[in-house]
């Protein structure tokens, strides 16, 4: 391998795996496990309105009553009594980058956050463990009436009523056990409101970094794109690797109003000790458009199926997602869509790569309800296995209640072609580069949906995964 490549690899590796020292002097850390007392303390610390404390306590009750999910990969390694649900830096959130504490600033600088903001983003939020440490929206964007803030500020600010109206209505705590957990201990995340007709030309981004060992991250993202408005929101996540289990049970609720458009892009690179039990959901009204772009690389176990409710006629959704499961990873991902109005359409393109015994499962669920006349849905799922010990499964689900729906499903599972590797090598390209070229090429239709910087990052992540154990 070229020296430059080795250097690049090291840099990327270090980029995600550096750990900051957490001391009691600069961090507040809740005790392990979960009870009412912990929740009251979290709520009090945030100075929340009463309804939120009630909401949390009700959610805790639901959590305690709900059974564990009975499908998908095992999460036995996750012991909730060992998870710390709340860790925060003692420094409050800053609106100026200079004011963020040095060690945290260094972390995000290594992740390229402020640089990306200067170059290509309209606003940035950076969450470190349980709380946001930095939030900023460009002045010219703020002037159009766009609101982009942390959830805590939103709860106590001029949009408090809006938060109350929408918060966990799309993903209620009763949905599943980890939605209930989220309702009880959620912390951090972003609130975005784009007023009617406002088109935000450049993306907003929130970055979530979980630094603390044995902790959970439960950020809540609530985005409302009002009628005729347009937004691209990017979410990035990463964490260094520890030997104890970490948990991510975030929740994303997206409301796309009449004629509005939202693109929600994620590049996720959790560490390989992370249980990623995340819930994302969008509700799309008449003529609205929802676009998901998703790259899942990290975590030990993932349950992730962004769901779209096409509630208004002529509404549309597309999902472009790629999952890379390496050694010790079991990633259960996919997409769900409910067609609940006429002339709605959904397109799902999913790709999965598995390597070194990794397991990638694609799960899709398409529901076309009785009143969703003349609806269309296409599901295309392709899997690439890089060796004979890895696994790839496709579990499509369809429930069609109309007789005029156009529905297509295609699944292709294949191994990387030895002949193609030989072909590339015959041009002087090393075996590992040949393989990563083929894999990047396989991922390209998804990565090209991302803004350039993120496409590059995704390619680097693929390279990094390809080089592991090779």
């Amino acid at each position: 391998m070229v020296e430059k490549d080795i250097l690049l690899k090291k840099t990327i590796e270090n980029m995600y795996d550096f750990k900051d020292k957490e001391t009691s002097e600069n961090f507040v850390r809740e005790k392990e496990g979960l009870d009412e007392e912990v929740i009251r303390r979290i709520s009090k610390g945030k100075n929340e309105p009463d309804w939120m404390l009630d909401f949390r306590l009700k959610s805790l009750k639901i959590y305690n009553e709900k059974k564990m999910p009975n499908w998908g990969p095992s999460i036995e390694g996750l012991d909730m009594d060992k998870i710390v649900t709340y860790v925060r830096s003692k420094t409050p959130m800053q609106g100026k980058w200079e004011d963020v504490p040095d060690d945290i600033k260094n972390t995000f600088e290594k992740l390229g956050i402020p640089k990306a903001e200067r170059k290509s983003l309209a606003g940035v939020g950076a969450q470190y463990d349980s709380e946001l440490v930095y939030h900023n929206l460009k002045k010219e964007v703020a002037e159009t009436g766009v609101v982009y803030t942390d959830m805590e500020s939103a709860l106590n600010g001029p949009y408090a009523d809006m938060v109350k109206e929408y918060f966990m209505t799309l993903v209620p705590p009763t949905d599943h056990k980890y939605a209930a957990l989220h309702g009880a201990v959620w912390s951090g995340g972003s609130f975005v409101y784009v007023p009617k007709g406002v088109k935000v030309e450049v993306p907003l981004q929130s970055y979530f970094r979980l630094n603390a060992a044995g902790a959970g991250q439960f950020e809540h993202t609530l985005i409302i794109v009002d009628e005729g408005a347009d937004l691209h929101f990017i979410e990035g996540c990463s964490a260094p690797k520890y030997n104890v289990a970490n948990l991510h049970a975030g929740c994303v609720e997206l409301f796309v109003k009449k004629g509005a458009k939202l693109r929600y892009s994620t590049v996720e690179n959790w560490s390989k000790n992370m249980y990623n039990l995340n819930t994302k959901r969008a509700k799309v009204e008449e003529n609205g458009i929802m676009e998901w772009v998703s790259g899942s690389f990290g975590s030990k176990v993932s349950y992730l199926y962004p769901m779209t409710l096409l509630s208004g006629k002529n509404s549309k959704m597309t999902y472009n997602g790629i999952t890379f499961a390496g050694e010790g990873q079991n990633l259960d991902t996919g997409a769900k869509v409910v067609h609940a109005a006429s002339n709605t359409s959904s397109i799902i393109n999913a790709k999965s790569i598995s390597k070194d015994g990794g397991i990638g499962t694609f799960r899709s669920s398409i529901k076309i309800l009785k009143n969703a006349k003349n609806s269309k849905s296409t599901v295309d799922c392709q899997s690439l296995m890089l060796d004979s010990i890895s696994r790839s499964d496709t579990i499509p689900g369809m429930d069609i209640r109309t007789n005029d729906a156009k529905v297509g499903h295609e699944a292709k599972i294949g191994r990387i072609s030895e002949e193609a590797i030989f072909y590339l090598m015959s041009r002087g390209i090393s075996e590992e580069n040949a393989k990563s070229m083929i894999v990047s090429g396989f991922a390209e239709p998804i990565s090209k949906e991302l803004p350039l910087e993120y496409a590059v990052e995704m390619n680097n992540l693929i390279k990094l995964e390809m080089d592991r154990n090779m």
């Binding site: 070229v2 072609s417 030895e418 002949e419 193609a420 030989f422 072909y423 590339l424 090598m425 015959s426 041009r427 002087g428 390209i429 090393s430 075996e431 580069n433 040949a434 070229m437 083929i438 990047s440 090429g441 396989f442 991922a443 390209e444 239709p445």
Partner: protein, 249 residues
């Protein structure tokens, strides 16, 4: 005069999936020479090409291959390529997600390990594409994906011209091409032949592609062995009489 060979193959025996295909090949190619391998289907012509390039499916059980006096029998395919061997595939593989142009750039970079002068490279690429009567747009299309048979072969010759190897093996480059395409492709081969010291090993079972090319040696391969070696006139003879006389020999 100890060794002015470019490629020297000595008693090469090769198995494919435990079946013996090449049964003792000897071949000596000097810089600048063009050799032609002809023979009936199943004689082992393509196996010879793959073996020289080092396809791991082709197992050398005896003998050796050396390039410029250096034994390369156990070298990996990429190493052989970097030492100056090129194989034009009979069925080039389709690789999605990487364009022909950037693939060539990558390959040149891996071979030379030097920074690439992009502008000069693009210029040379365009010049060669023009020679091969290829639309420039092909440089931005995914490598071989959706290319017609003819375009795939042209893309192979384009890669050869850009990578500029010491020895190019052309495996049935003319198969499946119409008359015009054969003419165009052979223009590209001619261009390569005119470069100083560039050697060619042309595997073919037809003679169309050889018409405008200079040929130094012709070898007849039958059942894993070279049964006869002659000069360019042997091509003519095969053209008229076929392989009959070598099969019964």
């Amino acid at each position: 005069m100890i060794n002015n060979s470019l490629l020297k193959i000595n008693n090469l025996k090769v198995n494919v999936e435990d079946k013996n295909i090449l049964k003792g090949i000897n071949l000596d190619i000097k810089p600048g020479e063009t050799h032609v391998i002809m023979g009936p289907n199943g004689a082992g012509k393509s196996t010879l090409g793959y073996s020289i390039m080092g396809n791991p499916r082709y197992e050398v059980t005896e003998g050796n291959i050396s390039l410029e006096g250096e034994d390369i029998t156990t070298d990996s395919t990429d190493k052989r390529a970097r030492k100056g061997i090129f194989l034009s595939f009979q069925n080039p593989l389709e690789v999605a997600g990487i364009s022909l142009g950037s693939f060539i750039k990558n390959a040149i970079h891996e071979q030379t390990q030097k920074p690439i002068k992009l502008f000069a490279m693009r210029k040379e690429l365009n010049k060669n594409m023009e020679l091969l009567d290829m639309d420039e747009k092909y440089a931005d299309r995914d490598l071989n994906v959706g290319f017609s048979g003819g375009e795939k072969k042209k893309a192979e010759i384009l890669q050869m011209l850009m990578l500029n190897p010491k020895l190019a093996i052309l495996d049935e480059t003319d198969s499946g091409l119409d008359v015009d395409a054969v003419r165009t492709v052979s223009k590209g081969i001619k261009e390569f032949q005119n470069k100083e010291d560039s050697a060619l090993l042309i595997i073919t079972h037809s003679t169309k592609i050889l018409e405008s090319l200079h040929v130094d040696y012709t070898h007849i391969l039958v059942d894993g062995k070279i049964v006869h070696t002659g000069d360019a006139s042997l091509v003519e003879e095969i053209n008229e009489n076929g392989f009959e006389r070598f099969l019964t020999a």
